[in-house]
Symmetry: C3
Subunit: 271 residues, 3 copies
Amino acid sequence: VTRPILFLSDFGLDDEYVGLCHAVIARVAPEVKVIDLHHGIPPHDVVTGALTLAQAVSYGPKDAVFLAVVDPGVGTGRRGVALQAGDALLVGPDNGVLMPAAAALGGVSSGVELEVGRVVLWSVSDTFHGRDVFAPAAARLAAGADLGEVGEGIDPSELTELGPWSRLEVEEERVSTAVIGVDRFGNVRLGARPEDLKDAGLEADELVLLVAGAPVTGHRVRTYGELEPAAFGVLVDSAGWLAVVRNGDSAAEQLGLRPGDAVELRASGVG
Amino acid sequence: VTRPILFLSDFGLDDEYVGLCHAVIARVAPEVKVIDLHHGIPPHDVVTGALTLAQAVSYGPKDAVFLAVVDPGVGTGRRGVALQAGDALLVGPDNGVLMPAAAALGGVSSGVELEVGRVVLWSVSDTFHGRDVFAPAAARLAAGADLGEVGEGIDPSELTELGPWSRLEVEEERVSTAVIGVDRFGNVRLGARPEDLKDAGLEADELVLLVAGAPVTGHRVRTYGELEPAAFGVLVDSAGWLAVVRNGDSAAEQLGLRPGDAVELRASGVG
Amino acid sequence: VTRPILFLSDFGLDDEYVGLCHAVIARVAPEVKVIDLHHGIPPHDVVTGALTLAQAVSYGPKDAVFLAVVDPGVGTGRRGVALQAGDALLVGPDNGVLMPAAAALGGVSSGVELEVGRVVLWSVSDTFHGRDVFAPAAARLAAGADLGEVGEGIDPSELTELGPWSRLEVEEERVSTAVIGVDRFGNVRLGARPEDLKDAGLEADELVLLVAGAPVTGHRVRTYGELEPAAFGVLVDSAGWLAVVRNGDSAAEQLGLRPGDAVELRASGVG
């Protein structure tokens, strides 16, 4: 019995990096299925990679091997690891990228540090551990290998946690946060959830969004269709985050917002 | 025996939407194969999605489940449906996106309205029925479920037809239409077919293309290679549409043409 | 027993061309696995396609069918071929795109010219042999067909070789070459290998890069992490080429370099 591999990276699709990892997996484990979760994580953005991977826990196969390669530390001393969490396995660099997914799976029950000599089929490049270490390790595990066959046991409590990522501040009638994503429809995902609005006492149908200091009115809606043309809305998006949207138009473009930009939410009466 | 899923959407590859649908299908039906037909349909462009899906009927597996998610009405009252047409099944919103493919398959022989309670594994997002309704329904059907297991029977004659999409007008020595696509080579697909030129009596080797009122000479050719450098040609593209091309260069860029732009074809003698 | 198909093209992902080839393969050979190596080869760039395909030989399944469609001569008299090299098969146009991969596999042992009548399922478009000839031929071979079932034997010595592509010149203390690729991290791949530096006697820790005549200092490093911020480095990239990099930043953007641009490497003392 094989496990499917759920593969996420910051490689993009503009070159052959993702394809080479697929080729390696097919050489090591011809019968394993690989699902591309997403390869457009911004280069070296460990936080976005980690949050995107964690989101997939609720939807993907419960016995998957989660392979996540967002690895600004490649070629330095950072460890590569393979972890067990729930019924799933996770493979990637020990830089925090696996940790929210592991938490969503019930926490790490055991882990190993990947040992190059056990998993690698050729000489290892200094810059492309995705192809040379992580992909073959994931393939071996997906084909049925035990963790002990790809590395030496480590103490899960010593794994690197994901650094602080949210600028979320919740106060009386005020939620300050940042844009954590913009999709191709121009919907602006904020690093805050509906319960944060509740905690701040911001439960009116209208909110004021402060974007670069300028106020914009946003209506609380459930779907795009509830908005008048050219009106801005705030809804709970498909991953459970608050998102600023515009009906049939790009909210991001209209507001000039990009990931990392600060956004403040206030009650409509406040200037 | 499972069916392959042929998946088309307007999700793009800039975020994890497509990957999450794949993850859902692998959870519901681990053994099913998913073929990505295209995810770069312009956002909310039901017509382009429908025509692209229909084109695949001639080339894909005859027993496929066609999964098409171009769904500007998500979260409103529009129905989700699953249809039988020929040996194939089709799953998507009831907004016309499935209808040209169903027609190319011989017409809808039976159908159901998807019932969320029968197909969904978790609480349903208001904005992402691709992940929460259509992908799991397609997975269930691909794994062998009957239509009746995912919804309640409907009258095929009450399905929403695809709205009028072509600006095609064929007159004596004159065909007016619009650009319906531009590919990465800069070839400009028009919403007209060679038989429309014939009907208009435009069968000379040279045509005049009127683009924003300005005349450009185009030569009827079978392949790019028949064109002189810097000359424009009109050929029948791989999907059977008329296309404006330029040898080794982008016709779209040279002519400033984008999807939706009007183009008129006339006999070369006409100013 | 089936073979996996390793698929490379210049189709891009902005339209449905790749998806239609997948659909065709699934119709002809439902049980065959297709691995997308890369579809972002610059349009009509046979050299980049050939080098990218050859790179995959070391990593992919040894019995793969390599399907490469970079085909500026489609619709002209150029032949389509299927070749045996080592345990692998290769399918594509006879324009050199398959030859470096075939060489890396040990050379072509036998080959056939594809005969449309033996492989094609429908009328053949003049412009899309990827869908109409190469994909079905690769599918037939991957499903177990012999070369003789898809074409007539040819003399391997008469195959078209890949044209000259490298501007590499190695002299005393001087290596002249060109950019052969830029990845999304902005790393600049040069058409030279570390042994060329050695042959030129350029083995100091510092090099001078001449870019459009202007000198830039580059440090020989093994990984990005060895570089000071804002310093340029020269390392051996994951495919074995010399690459110009910048720590945490795009070297290509900083230096204004694009594929095809000339770069000269000299000893640091030389102006």
